[in-house]
Symmetry: C2
Subunit: 333 residues, 2 copies
C-alpha cells in the first residue's frame, strides 16, 4: 500500500533525491539527459507526486474552498461548474462544501477548510447566518475570502454579487409601464444583501412612480418554496392578493405556483408573478415564469479572479463588484 516516492526513483538511478525533485520540476540547472532518465524512471515505476509533502513545504495547497448553501439547485450547480473552470484555468483545485443553509455547518466547514489549508475561500453564506465568529477566524488567519452572490453586511472581504437593487428596480418599472399598479413582494432575509437589495429596489421603484406601498403585501423572512407556498395562502386568506407579486427567488415563485394551483388562482390573470434567478425549471412552468437571470458564469469567473489575485497578493485591496442581471419576460406577467 506504500506508494512510490522520489526517494525510490533516486535509489533506482543511484542519484540524489534532490536531483530527482529538480528534474521532475524542470529545474533549469538539471541536464536534459538526467531529466529524461528521471522522468522515464518515474513513468516506469508509476510515480505520482504526493501533494501532501509538497504542500507542507510550500505552505500552499493550490486549492480553493467553496462553500455554497445548497447544491441540488440549478443556480448553485451551474455556479459550481463555472467556479471549477475558472479555478482550473489558473492551476487551482476546488474543494466544495455545502452548508445546507445551516450556519453551524457553515462554521464547521470554514474550520475544516482552514485545517485543510486551502489557499482561499469563496462562499455564498447560508440563509441563517448572522454570527460573524467564523469570519473573524478567517480574518485572523489571514486567509483571503470572497463573498459570492450573497454577502454579509460586513465589509472586510471582497464581494461579487448581482446588481440586485438596480435590476429589481428596472423589472418593477417595466411592469409599471405595462400597466400594473398594485404590487406585492415575497421573500428575502433582512441580513442578506441579496434580500435587502431586492426589497429596496422594489420599494424605490414604487416610490419613484408614486405608487403606494402596502406593508401587508411585503412579506420577508425566507427564500424557500415552502415560504412562497405558505405566504400566498396567507395573502389570499387576508384578501390582499396584489396584481403582481415579485418573488425574491424562483424557489419562492415555485411555492406561489403550487399554492395558486391549490387555491384555483390563475397566473397571470389573478396574480402575475416574477421570480429571481432563472432556474432551469422556470421556463418549463405553466405558465413559464418571468424572472431575472443572473450572469452565473461571469459571477464565477469574477469571484475566482478576485480570490486568486488576493491569494497572490495579500495586500490587495478588497473590491465590491456588482454584475448585471437581466429580466427574462415570459408568460407569467
Amino acid at each position: 500500500m506504500r506508494r512510490v516516492s522520489q526517494a525510490e526513483i533516486a535509489e533506482k538511478l543511484d542519484i540524489s533525491r534532490t536531483t530527482v525533485t529538480k528534474a521532475l520540476n524542470d529545474d533549469p540547472n538539471i541536464s536534459d539527459r538526467t531529466k529524461e532518465k528521471v522522468k522515464g524512471a518515474a513513468q516506469e515505476l508509476g510515480y505520482i507526486v504526493n501533494n501532501i509533502g509538497r504542500s507542507l513545504v510550500n505552505n500552499r495547497t493550490m486549492t480553493i474552498g467553496l462553500i455554497v448553501p445548497k447544491i441540488a439547485h440549478s443556480f448553485y450547480s451551474t455556479l459550481l461548474e463555472g467556479i471549477y473552470n475558472a479555478a482550473n484555468m489558473r492551476g487551482y483545485d476546488i474543494i466544495p462544501m455545502v452548508s445546507f443553509e445551516d450556519c453551524e455547518r457553515e462554521e464547521k466547514m470554514i474550520r475544516k477548510m482552514l485545517a485543510m489549508h486551502v489557499d482561499g475561500i469563496v462562499m455564498g453564506i447560508s440563509e441563517t447566518t448572522t454570527s460573524l465568529d467564523s469570519f473573524q477566524i478567517v480574518e485572523k488567519n489571514n486567509i483571503p475570502l470572497v463573498f459570492l452572490d450573497r454577502a454579509l453586511p460586513y465589509h472586510h472581504f471582497s464581494e461579487i454579487t448581482t446588481n440586485d437593487f438596480e435590476i429589481t428596480y428596472n423589472a418593477i418599472e417595466f411592469t409599471i409601464q405595462k400597466g400594473y399598479k398594485n404590487f406585492g413582494f415575497l421573500g428575502g432575509q433582512p441580513h442578506l444583501s441579496s434580500g435587502v437589495n431586492r426589497e429596496m429596489g422594489y420599494r424605490k421603484a414604487l416610490k419613484d412612480h408614486n405608487l403606494s406601498i402596502d406593508e401587508n403585501q411585503i412579506i420577508t423572512g425566507g427564500y424557500s418554496k415552502q415560504f412562497g407556498y405558505e405566504n400566498l395562502i396567507e395573502l389570499h386568506k387576508l384578501n390582499s392578493l396584489p396584481e403582481l407579486l415579485f418573488c425574491a427567488t424562483d424557489e419562492v415563485a415555485l411555492g406561489v405556483y403550487k399554492a395558486a394551483k391549490k387555491l384555483g388562482i390563475k397566473i397571470p390573470d389573478d396574480v402575475a408573478v416574477i421570480g429571481f434567478g432563472d432556474l432551469e425549471i422556470a421556463r418549463y412552468l405553466n405558465p413559464p415564469l418571468t424572472t431575472i437571470s443572473m450572469p452565473i458564469d461571469k459571477l464565477a469567473e469574477e469571484a475566482i479572479a478576485t480570490l486568486v489575485a488576493e491569494i497572490e497578493n495579500p495586500n490587495r485591496e478588497k473590491t465590491v463588484n456588482k454584475l448585471e442581471g437581466s429580466l427574462i419576460v415570459r408568460k407569467s406577467i
Copy 2:
C-alpha cells in the same frame, strides 16, 4: 501569514511538543490538568490543526474523491448531497470533481486525486470513457474505488447501480399490459452498464411478450437532450414513429419533447414517452413525464458504506449491489 502551530502552544506553556499533540488528541497518558491547559491555550491562540502535517505522518487524509460526469443536473447534485452526508457521518470529507463527460479530464482527475492522496474514490464514469488506463493506475496504487450509477464492464471494483435491466423490463411490461404494441428505444452507450442493461431489459420484455423488435426503432449512442431531439426528428422523417418511446434518460426525453413540439407531434397521443431518472423537471413538463425514479439517497449511502469498508479493510471482497428503481406513472403514457 504563518498559522499557529503546536510548537507555539508548547513554547507558551513551556512544555514539550509531544505533550501538546498528545493532550490535543486526548491521549490517556496525559493528565487532565495538562489537557485543560493545552486546550485552553489552543483556543486562546486560535490554533487549528494542520491536516497536511497530520496526513503526512498518518498516511491517511480522511478524504474521499468523487468524480461525476456532470453536476448541473438534479440527479447528480442530489447524489452529491447524499454522498456528503454519508461520508461526513463516517468522519470523511468529500472532494468532488466533475468530468463533464470527458474521459481525458476524467483521467486527469483520477491522477490528481491520487496526488492529493484521497483515501478512496467513488465515481460515475463519463459517457465517453472506453480506456481502462486510469483504472489500472488506481488498481496499481491499491486505492479502493467504487463505481456508482455507471460502471464499466471491468469487474475489478465494487459497483453500486440501479437494477436497470429489471426495472426497464417491468416498465415495458406494464405498458404492454396497458395495450401498447409498438415500441421504440432511444439512447444509451454500448460501453456503459446502464445503457446496455436498459436496452436489454427493453428487448427481453418485448421478446417475452412475443412482440416484434424493430431495429430501426432502437437508436443508441447518446444520453443527451440533443441526442433525443435529433433522433425523434429522424424517426419522424423515416415515418417510423413508435406508439411508445422508451428513453434511456430523462435528458433524452427532454429532447424528444422539444422535437415533438417543433414537429407538432402530440404526447402521448401520437407518441407516448417514458424517461429514466426522474429529474426534478420531469413533473413540470407538459404533459408530466412518466419515468423511472432511482433511489438516489440509498445509492449514495451504499456507495460510501462500501468504499469506507474497503478503505478500512483493504482485503474486503469486491461487491456488486443493485438497488431498486421504481416506475412513476404520469401523463406521458
